[in-house]
C-alpha cells in the first residue's frame, strides 16, 4: 500500500470518528480506531518489534507538531510548573518525551532538524543500570518504566546516551487514565503503547507530522511500511558505535 493510500484511509477513519464523536457528545473526540480494534488480551510477543524511520530531510525548521501532539497524547501538557520555580530551569527540566534537535554543519552551514526520543534499543543501557528492574524492555521492543517499581534514582537518565528520559519532580494534579504520572518517577517515550495495546497501529507524533517524516511499524515484518522504507533508503542509528541496535532509525542526518 502506498503512502498516499494509507493517508487516505487515515483521513477517512478520522472523519468517520469525528462524525461519530459529534453524535455522541460535543467536545468528545474519538481516536481513529481500526475496525478490529480491541484491548489486548494475550501477552505481547517477540514476533513484533516496533520501530521507526525518521527522515530528517523532511523535518521542517521551526515545526514542533510532533512534540505538541506527544505532549497532548501523553498528558505532558498537564504537568504544571511548580510554584516558585525558575522559568528557565523549568524549561530545561520539564518532562518531554521528544526533544527537538538542531544540527549545524560548520563547514557548509547546512542545518538539519530531527526529533530525538527514546531509541528503544535492543540492548538498552537504562535497563542495564536499573537497580530495581523498573526500567525494562517489553517483548515487542518497547523500552518502558514500570512506575510501580521505580524508586526515582535516575541512574537510567545518566546511562541513556540519547538524553531521552525525564523525571517528575513534583506531584501532578491532573493525569490521563492511560498515562499515570506521579512525583519521583522517571519516564520516557513508550511509542504510544496504550494505542498499540488497544489495537491501533500509529503513534501520535506520526499522525501529527504533516511532512510525513516519521514512518512507524513492525521491524520484523518485511512488508511493513517501515521495513520497506528501511530497505529502500539509507539510514543510520544515532551513536551506532555503542552497538545498541536501536529501534528508531534516521535517514538524511
Amino acid at each position: 500500500m502506498s503512502r498516499t493510500e494509507q493517508q487516505g484511509r487515515r483521513v477517512f477513519l478520522k472523519k468517520t470518528a469525528t462524525a461519530a464523536a459529534v453524535a455522541i457528545a460535543p467536545g468528545v473526540m474519538l481516536h481513529a480506531l481500526p475496525a478490529a480494534a480491541a484491548p489486548r488480551v494475550e501477552a505481547v510477543s517477540g514476533k513484533i518489534r516496533w520501530g521507526m524511520l525518521i527522515d530528517a530531510s523532511k523535518c521542517a525548521d521551526g515545526c514542533s507538531d510532533c512534540v505538541t501532539a506527544c505532549d497532548k497524547e501523553n498528558g505532558l501538557d498537564l504537568v504544571d510548573m511548580p510554584a516558585g520555580a525558575e522559568e528557565a530551569l523549568w524549561e530545561r527540566q520539564r518532562p518531554r518525551w521528544i526533544r527537538q534537535v538542531k544540527l549545524k554543519d560548520n563547514l557548509s552551514g547546512k542545518i538539519t532538524n530531527l526529533p530525538m526520543m527514546c531509541q528503544h534499543c535492543e540492548k538498552p543501557p537504562c535497563v542495564d543500570v536499573c537497580p530495581t528492574g523498573a526500567s525494562f524492555r517489553r517483548a515487542d521492543g518497547i523500552v518502558m518504566v514500570d512506575r510501580h517499581i521505580c524508586i526515582g534514582c535516575r541512574y537510567c537518565m545518566m546511562a541513556c546516551p540519547y538524553k531521552a528520559r525525564s523525571f517528575i519532580h513534583a506531584e501532578v494534579a491532573e493525569k490521563l487514565t492511560h498515562t499515570p504520572r506521579g512525583k519521583g518517577c522517571v519516564e520516557s517515550c513508550n511509542l504510544c503503547v496504550h494505542r498499540l495495546d488497544n489495537g491501533e497501529s500509529t503513534t501520535a507524533c506520526q499522525d501529527a507530522c504533516k511532512h510525513q517524516a516519521i514512518v512507524f511499524g513492525d521491524l520484523n515484518d518485511p512488508e511493513s511500511a517501515v521495513s520497506r522504507a528501511l530497505k529502500k533508503y539509507p539510514s543510520v542509528q544515532i551513536r551506532a558505535d555503542l552497538k545498541l541496535n536501536t529501534g528508531i532509525r534516521y535517514s538524511n542526518v
Partner: protein, 127 residues
C-alpha cells in the same frame, strides 16, 4: 474475627451511604445513584469477594498490563474508577479518592493508605 465482622458491617453501611460525606475542592457534591455501579447488581466478582480481595486482583493485573500489554482484563483500576465514580449536580465526575467517595470512604475508616491516585487518575478516562 469480631473486629473483621465489624469492619464488614461498616463496609456494608458505607456502600449504602457513600454520598453522605462532604464534597471536595475539585467538583461539587456527589449525587447518589450517578455512578454506573449504582445501577448494577454486582461488581466483576460477588460483592463479598470484591470487598476482601479487590487489591489482590489489581495487584497482579497491573504487572500483566505494564509488562505484557494486557489491557482487556476483567480486573483493572481503570475499570473500578469508570464504574464507581459518582457525578456532581453539573455532571462532572467526582474523584473516587475524594473524602467520603467510593475508595476513600472505607480506606479512611480502616486507615489503609490509598497510594494509587498519586499517579493514577481518580476520575473516569477520556474516551
Amino acid at each position: 474475627m469480631i473486629r473483621n465482622r465489624s469492619i464488614m458491617l461498616f463496609l456494608a453501611g458505607a456502600m449504602l451511604g457513600l454520598a453522605i460525606g462532604p464534597g471536595n475542592a475539585f467538583a461539587g457534591e456527589a449525587v447518589e445513584g450517578t455512578a454506573k455501579a449504582d445501577k448494577l447488581e454486582q461488581c466483576v466478582e460477588p460483592t463479598p469477594v470484591m470487598r476482601r480481595n479487590h487489591f489482590e486482583f489489581i495487584k497482579h493485573q497491573r504487572d500483566l498490563t505494564v509488562h505484557q500489554g494486557i489491557r482487556g482484563s476483567k480486573h483493572s483500576l481503570a475499570g473500578c474508577i469508570d464504574c464507581h465514580a459518582r457525578k456532581d449536580a453539573s455532571g462532572k465526575a467526582v474523584p473516587v479518592n475524594a473524602q467520603g467517595q467510593f475508595c476513600a470512604g472505607c480506606h479512611e475508616y480502616v486507615a489503609a493508605s490509598l497510594d494509587c491516585f498519586s499517579c493514577h487518575s481518580a476520575v473516569p478516562g477520556e474516551k
